[in-house]
């Protein structure tokens, strides 16, 4: 049975996560994370206290790639999080692993590079290198995911719900196109000129993040819960906490058998009609050439 972690944007919504199925809450600030809405430092401190008060674990997203110039700031932030007594961080930059080791930081680090963890050989190697945990990449078919979980038991995490990140850049794409600085972090979308699907695009002061559909795993959640998966993540980037809490309740319902996966999906679609979903079962093998693709 996996641990379940859920991302919450606002401190006032933490009280709604006092559910036995939830192991921990994921938080984010704005600067050091990929999130477009972030908590201030004092809010993080307060939130961690509240989460511990609920008997849950507190994880922080520290999931950007950092430039050489930012390293002192990153170090200060990691120490601040230690002072807040967080239980772990989710990170994207391998340098964070080394910095945590140097600082003897005292909380766990879960490596989540989004694309690079597509096989169990690499994940096993990272485990042997002392990395505390890894989030399996989302660009592989489900059969590969199960193989990885089996080969590296009680170590892997999987994002079971949330927008699928498909590109991350240090460039500020919207500012460049519009030739005008501004806050482009909320409600911007791209649509490829010969396609219909909306791709959410978030630009912040330190880069851009492009997303595809929202991944959902209602049909697979029970099976995943019977594997040696260490942790399941219900992530979110730009949708409301109300949406996330609704999602959490629906997964809980599917896990305890009070509703079916189909009912859960339908209910979530009714809750917010604008969200486009990709079933985790639909993640396909990708190919190298046009003919096979």
């Amino acid at each position: 049975m996996f641990d379940l972690f859920v991302y919450i944007r606002n401190v006032e919504n933490l009280v709604h996560c006092n559910d036995p199925v939830v192991t921990g809450i994921i938080l984010a600030d704005r600067y050091f994370s990929s999130s477009n809405a972030g908590l201030e430092n004092e809010e993080i401190r307060k939130a961690v206290e509240m989460i511990h008060g609920l008997g849950k674990k507190a994880l922080l997203k520290v999931d950007r790639l950092y430039s050489q110039k930012e390293l002192d700031l990153v170090r200060q932030y990691l120490l601040f999080l230690a002072d807040c007594k967080v239980d772990g961080i989710i990170y994207t930059d391998l340098g964070i692993n080394m910095m945590m080791e140097e600082l003897n930081i005292g909380y766990k680090g879960i490596y989540a590079p989004e694309t690079l963890l597509t096989d169990y050989y690499d994940i096993n190697t990272l485990k042997n290198d002392g990395v505390d945990g890894c989030v399996i990449s989302k660009d592989i078919p489900l059969k590969d995911v199960y193989e990885i979980i089996n080969e590296v038991p009680d170590y892997c995490y999987l994002r079971i719900h949330g927008p699928i990140l498909i590109a991350y850049s240090r460039r500020k794409y919207i500012t460049s196109y519009l030739e005008k600085s501004g806050d482009y972090s909320e409600d911007y979308w791209l649509v490829e000129e010969s396609r219909d699907n909306r791709l959410p695009l978030i630009e912040k002061e330190n880069g851009s993040w492009l997303y595809d559909a929202t991944l959902q795993s209602f049909n697979e959640i029970k099976k995943l819960n019977d594997t040696a998966l260490k942790g399941a993540l219900i992530d979110n980037v730009y949708l409301s906490d109300e949406y996330t809490l609704k999602t959490l309740k629906l997964y809980e319902g599917v896990l305890n058998g009070s509703i079916t996966a189909e009912e859960a999906i339908n209910e979530l679609k009714e809750f917010d009609e604008t969200v486009r979903y990709a079933d985790i079962n639909e993640l396909k093998e990708t190919w190298l050439d046009k003919e096979k693709a």
Binding site: G95, T115, E193, D212, T286, W287
Partner: protein
């Protein structure tokens, strides 16, 4: 130690061209385990021949094993690495911890270079790879020159940086737009370059498209002659040119440009304005897209973006030389682009300056005079003012 000039090669011919035109090392992919699925890529026999050829000129050979592997991709990998070692390949370029460790274990004579696909941007990320005893790190192209200076002061292992060629708009290895929009795997060699496509930009329901051009993520190409002196000053180990799918003519002209800058720096302690002018000339010969200095001056703004993406094939390359008769000063050339009698053409040899000449007359294989060369791959005989060889390119 002098900084290496590292060139790409899509096949054996291009590898030979790169070696002859001044690359200190050449990199390419094998048939498996390598990105750039559409590059011709090298069979094992090709790899063996490539190493023998390059080593005979004192040049090094690196083989890309830089896929982000899936579970099944490891089949046959151990045997492949052993073969590369047996053929005396100098290094592999990889992007996977497991491939790195496997190579160190089963083919320890091979150096391991960490690919830019790992997006190493800072000294702590480098420290991770240093702890794994890799031999070189290829930095992410998003590192600015100022950041590079800082990194080089504390780097414990050799550092390679890109100086020229196409750029991923997003962090290399972290982009799956191609996977999602075309089902072609960007990180295993199938990238459809969907970043260069046109997109409509919305805020809520408001369409923000400009009249002149649509939104695109695509990047201009990198071209950095202005930064060569600075890069040499901070002692990077290697200056890398991108483009395993580029033509031999492209590789030759780009190498010619950067070679002269590097040689001038080591001979004179600096790169002069005259050197830069000459280099610009060579770099412009094969240019087919707008270029910029990458991230070296800082995070790019709109001037680093490529909107209205069109690749225009360069028409400047006129012919290859197939053979040369020193007694008659005549060359048999293979036509690639249109030219006519009385046109002024330019001979580019691997060494020395380009030589201009006017085509007075030319003859086909039946010895019939030809006025207009407009049949690609046609063999023609022309008189040339200097000795040429099979590595000579004729351009306009």
């Amino acid at each position: 130690m002098r900084t290496e000039l590292l060139a790409p090669a899509g096949d054996l011919d291009r590898l030979k061209t790169a070696v002859i035109y001044g690359a200190d090392a050449v990199y390419f992919g094998g048939k498996q385990f390598s990105l750039r699925a559409r590059a011709s890529n090298f069979s094992l026999d090709d790899i063996k021949e490539a190493v023998e050829f390059a080593h005979s000129y004192g040049k090094r050979v690196y083989v890309t094993v830089n896929i982000i592997p899936h579970n099944s991709d490891f089949n046959g990998l151990e045997e492949y690495l052993r073969k590369l070692e047996e053929f005396n390949v100098d290094a592999i370029i990889c992007a996977s911890q497991a491939i790195c460790d496997l190579c160190k274990r089963v083919a320890p004579k091979l150096e391991v270079h960490i690919s830019t696909q790992q997006t190493t941007l800072n000294s702590y990320a480098m420290a991770y790879w240093t702890s794994k005893k890799v031999d070189r790190i290829v930095l992410g192209r998003e590192v600015t020159y100022e950041e590079l200076q800082e990194i080089m002061q504390i780097a414990e292992i050799p550092v390679e940086v890109f100086i020229h060629g196409g750029m991923c708009a997003n962090f290399s290895g972290r982009c799956t737009i191609s996977n999602v929009l075309t089902n072609r795997d960007a990180n295993r060699g199938g990238c459809a370059q969907s970043c260069r496509w046109n997109y409509h930009l919305y805020h809520g329901d408001d369409l923000l498209d400009k009249d002149e051009y649509l939104f695109s993520l695509g990047s201009k190409d990198m071209s950095t002659p202005d930064y060569i002196e600075r890069l040499l000053k901070v002692n990077v180990a290697s200056l890398k040119i991108e483009g395993r799918m580029k033509t031999a003519y492209y590789i030759a002209s780009i190498l010619k440009g950067y070679r002269l800058l590097i040689d001038s720096y080591y001979e004179n302690g600096k790169v002069s304005e005259e050197d830069l002018k000459k280099a610009d000339y060579y770099l412009s010969l094969a240019a087919n897209r707008d270029t910029f200095n990458g991230f070296y001056p800082g995070v790019p703004d709109e001037k680093g973006q490529l909107y209205n993406f069109i690749t225009t094939a360069s028409q400047s390359f006129i012919a290859n030389v197939r053979s040369y008769d020193a007694e008659t000063s005549e060359a048999i050339i293979e036509v690639r682009n249109h030219f006519e009698v009385n046109d002024e053409l330019v001979i580019m040899n691997p060494n020395g300056d380009d030589v201009r000449f006017t085509v007075k007359e030319m003859f086909d294989e039946k010895n019939e005079p030809v006025e207009v060369a407009n049949k690609p791959m046609q063999l023609l005989r022309i008189k040339v003012p200097v000795a040429v060889n099979e590595y000579t390119f004729i351009h306009k």
